[in-house]
Amino acid sequence: MELIRFFLERRGEVLSLSLEHLVLVVASTLMAALIAVPLGIVATRRARLGRWILGLANVVQTIPSLALIGFLIPLPILGGIGARTAMVVLVFYALLPIVRNTYTGITGVDPAIRQAALGMGLTDRQLLMRVELPLALPVIFAGLRVATVVSVGVATIAAYIGAGGLGSLIFRGINMLDNRLILAGAIPAALMALGADWGLGRVQRRLTPAGLRTERGSS
């Protein structure tokens, strides 16, 4: 009860921080998609380069986010204190699931379908645009969904370098030893992650071509 009152008193602040959080997540995930989808496509076209791209994306994923922030702070342009550095970190973490799903989505297209398309005289570009990408879209989108959910969590840490968002409530709560403040940041963040997962899951199902829905509707 007390907690609810605490929330209601601060609903303005919680709401505006939630919005800030959301903007950070959406902007960074979209930016990551703009980089990751082309990278994933390139990886399917050049086997050697592809191994490098996927390997590198994997390595990035294993760096603890706080350490990555630490590395970035002294850097010019990409680094420093503030939302820009936070964006860079978030984009980094969102890359892997999207690159990997773009790659597996395209390489997972039934080889018979690819043979038929090539045999009838589609160019590589037409094969990609008219056959492979439409068929891989649900899988690519699943990667985007994972990236978004991960970003909601990572974005709370971004408050550490002054990027704002719900993390700033959490950090303030930690400093002031006030659990209510921590919860005021953590609960909306958790709800946002759940909401993103559910909402994007619905979109993903709608993107799945009818003929594929039962075989590989979600992944």
Partner: protein
């Protein structure tokens, strides 16, 4: 593009071998030619190299040795996209595009060739009639809403879409029950009498080969072991030919 009309040879294999790197030859020393309007049946048991031979024609594979010529020009000298668009191809697994309806499956190449929309849909209706599917009922269906036999008909219609002079069919009636198979064979015969395409038709069924072929090429282990009219094949002494012939009376 080549427009040589002196000879009516449309397809030629000239001592063609194909091997995968560090592997055995899947096709060895194949020499074979197909004239305009002829239906060549590629007969052989599973793994004898039939599909590999077809893929050498539309350059899904390049020969390791020798040369495959289409209309007198080596496949490696053709613009590969132009080559493939002049050859209709029905793959063994049919391979319809699951995210596109029947109309857009069949209309894929005409659309890429920038035909006008009305012309494409007119052509699709014409082809659906040709392969025995009611256009109004089937044009808007997706592949998963078709039976196996209907899918194969759509596959044939798709291969015919841009009216290519050459047609490659890889066991197009393979996955069908006996009755539907016989029905499709009869329809294909009538179709071929009307269209007069140059056809290379892969089968492992000697009855089908006799029914539909003007000539039969028998493959064994990637080698051509017999090549002739059905009558000539009946007289062949080659052991593999005898095995196939004995299955006729079984």
């Amino acid at each position: 593009m080549p427009s040589e009309t002196g000879s009516s040879t449309v397809l030629e294999f000239d001592r063609v071998s194909f091997r995968v790197p560090d592997g055995p030859a899947l096709v060895s020393e194949l020499t074979l030619s197909v004239s305009e309007g002829e239906s060549l049946m590629l007969l052989g048991r599973s793994g004898s190299g039939k599909t590999t031979t077809l893929r050498l024609i539309n350059r899904l594979l390049d020969p390791s040795e020798g040369e495959v010529r289409v209309k007198g020009v080596a496949t490696t000298a053709w613009d590969v996209i132009r080559l493939r668009r002049s050859i209709g191809y029905v793959i063994q697994e049919v391979g319809l595009f699951p995210h596109l309806d029947v109309e857009r499956n069949i209309g894929m190449i005409p659309t890429l060739e920038k035909w006008e929309r009305e012309r494409v849909s007119g052509r699709v209706r014409e082809l659906l009639e040709l392969v025995g599917l009611a256009p109004d009922e089937f044009a808007c269906r997706f592949p998963h809403e078709l039976s196996g036999g209907q899918r194969q008909r759509v596959g044939v219609a798709r291969a015919l879409a841009a009216d290519p002079p050459i047609l490659l069919l890889d066991e197009p009636f393979g996955a069908l029950d006996q009755i539907t198979r016989i029905e499709m064979q009869q329809q294909f015969r009538q179709l071929q009498q009307r269209l007069r395409k140059t056809v290379v038709f892969v089968t492992h069924d000697i009855r089908e080969a006799f029914l539909l072929g003007s000539r039969i090429a028998l493959l064994e282990g990637g080698r051509l072991v017999a090549n002739g009219t059905p009558e000539e094949l009946r007289g062949s002494e080659h052991p593999e030919a005898r095995i196939f012939l004995s299955s006729l009376n079984a």
